[in-house]
Subunit: 292 residues, 2 copies
DNA sequence: ACCGGATATGAAAAAAAGCAACATTATATC
DNA sequence: GATATAATGTTGCTTTTTTTCATATCCGGT
């Protein structure tokens, strides 16, 4: 159960639960911060009900007991939301929470990559990119397809022959024309996207080198030669966009930068040409990053 | 104290606290989910220390007691997801430099957004998204077009009628069919992309509301009603992909989350439907994030 | 109106958890 | 090696939570 469900249910019960439930739900909703720390006795007193009623209330909401209930409330609070607080009171605080939740989430996700990433594998991957005659990136689903496109975007600048496909048919067809000089990146957070799994299988049959960026225990991970672990945890907060995207971006940057350094100064030539090709479009501002 | 600080402190203590502290910190870090629900007795047993030591440990970490400690852990989990917090790897200098360069760049970019962001504007923008009959997002160039697509990806989930265009012709044509109920987001790091500037101008002529995510001093910024500042600094490190992308993602997440909360619980219905529509594709795993 | 059964609520006691005061042990310092 | 200080443990008490059992309330059928 996601934490947001609990708020919904509280809402519903505040409207049409039994007497005691109504009062409790109201008390909790009116001050979640208080409720997340109060003892049963306190809560019972405020709502004018008996203590066991509070425990039963929590159970009925799908929690193990009041501890679990408060645990979930704490999580709701960690991210916070308009509808959680009495409106006029806390505009600023709520804003701060939103900013904090996203920033912390991103920082966490990236910290994890930072801690867990095996640079030896990344270095090998980069070497394969350099060696490959043609690189393909397959991704599907919101996060993974962004990753695929982004990877193309990062690597083509280095002069790497790379193309991304987010369409399942294109992935399959492309896989079918792979050969020994091909390198296939397969990105899938779940590791269960059928088109990606099949494409990897086919590409490998034709001798392509295959690298996945996916859940290390997934079907997809087992299909390929190498796997860079990428796990998107079940977000407890549905309102918040998943932080996993930052992790994926990080991973891609690592690959791109390692590859760039491997190629060496000649990447600068590619970058220079890109800049020249843009200079007729935009004003010439040498400080600006290449291609917006 | 932000909630994630607690993890840092735990890390430090796991490395150089006293004996009991070390063991406790390790136990907690090795399974935060467990620690966030365990009783003192449990924790003490596992770490092989006495119960009051656990209480003292929590206090020393800046919490009121074990309750508060567990409360904070719950929040860490809510934000960071059910991530593991593995020991950071030791790596050689070159690897550390690459990882550090990217991580620091991203952290800086996001910190800048955090410092500069005006949540009042973001709230207004979100309100406009909710009110709009149709939302368009235009972006061009590597970073900005990713932003446009990502914005579509984040907002369509909430049931917002939104479409992204990264093609200049499509942008112009779309702008030409705007009306009063249209909302146009124009993303451009440079603020000089011709197609975007023209599209904003045209859309505005037809009564659309226009919001830019761009350099606040740019031509584009002056064309539109509102501007969320987004500046990509000239990266000195040519090998390194620009960190600006993290900042843009951050900005988009802020808008998406604020919008989601403005819409309220009914967004859950959209998300639920998306999940259902995917469940025939993938195995049914309710914990998985929606759409890879 | 009255009955039987289900449901909701409360009182009291048992169980569990958390905490403080004091005791002990380890460590550092001279 | 004595002493002071910090770190940790033991014990028992308090608070919190849960369970058990009793009571009240509601509701449809007679």
């Amino acid at each position: 159960m996601t934490t947001t469900d609990i708020i919904n249910r509280l809402r519903i019960w505040a409207a049409d639960g039994s007497n005691a439930e109504k009062r409790l739900a109201e008390i909790v909703l009116s001050d979640i911060e208080y409720a997340s720390k109060a003892s049963i006795a306190d809560l019972a007193l405020r709502a004018g009900v008996s203590e066991p009623t509070v425990t039963r209330f929590c159970r009925a909401l799908g929690c193990d007991g009041i501890r679990d209930f408060k645990f979930k409330l704490a999580q709701v609070l960690a991210i916070g939301g308009v509808y959680l607080f009495p409106e006029p009171l806390v505009r600023d605080e709520r804003d701060a929470r939103i900013v904090g939740a996203i920033a912390d989430g991103a920082a966490n996700a990236m910290q994890r990559v930072r801690d867990a990433i095996d640079m030896k594998t990344v270095n090998e991957v980069a070497q394969h990119v350099v060696d490959a005659g043609q690189v393909y990136v397959f991704g599907s689903g919101g996060v993974s397809s962004m990753g695929a496109v982004e990877m193309q975007n990062r690597l083509f600048r280095l002069g790497v022959p790379i193309v991304a496909h987010t369409d399942g048919q294109m992935q399959r067809m492309t896989a079918a024309v792979c050969d020994k000089r091909s390198l296939v990146f397969a990105i899938s957070a779940s590791g269960q996207a059928a088109s990606i799994i099949e494409s990897v299988r086919v590409a490998r049959q034709y001798g392509a080198r295959t690298i996945t960026i996916t859940h290390p225990e997934s079907v997809l991970a087992k299909e390929a030669e190498a796997c860079l672990p990428f796990v998107i945890p079940a977000d407890t907060q549905l309102y918040k966009p998943t932080s996993g995207r930052y992790a994926l971006l990080f991973l891609i940057d690592l690959i791109a930068m390692t590859t760039a350094e491997l190629i060496g100064p000649s990447v600068l030539e590619s970058l220079r040409r890109i800049r020249v090709s843009l200079s007729s479009l935009n004003t010439n501002d040498p400080g600006r990053p290449i291609g917006d």
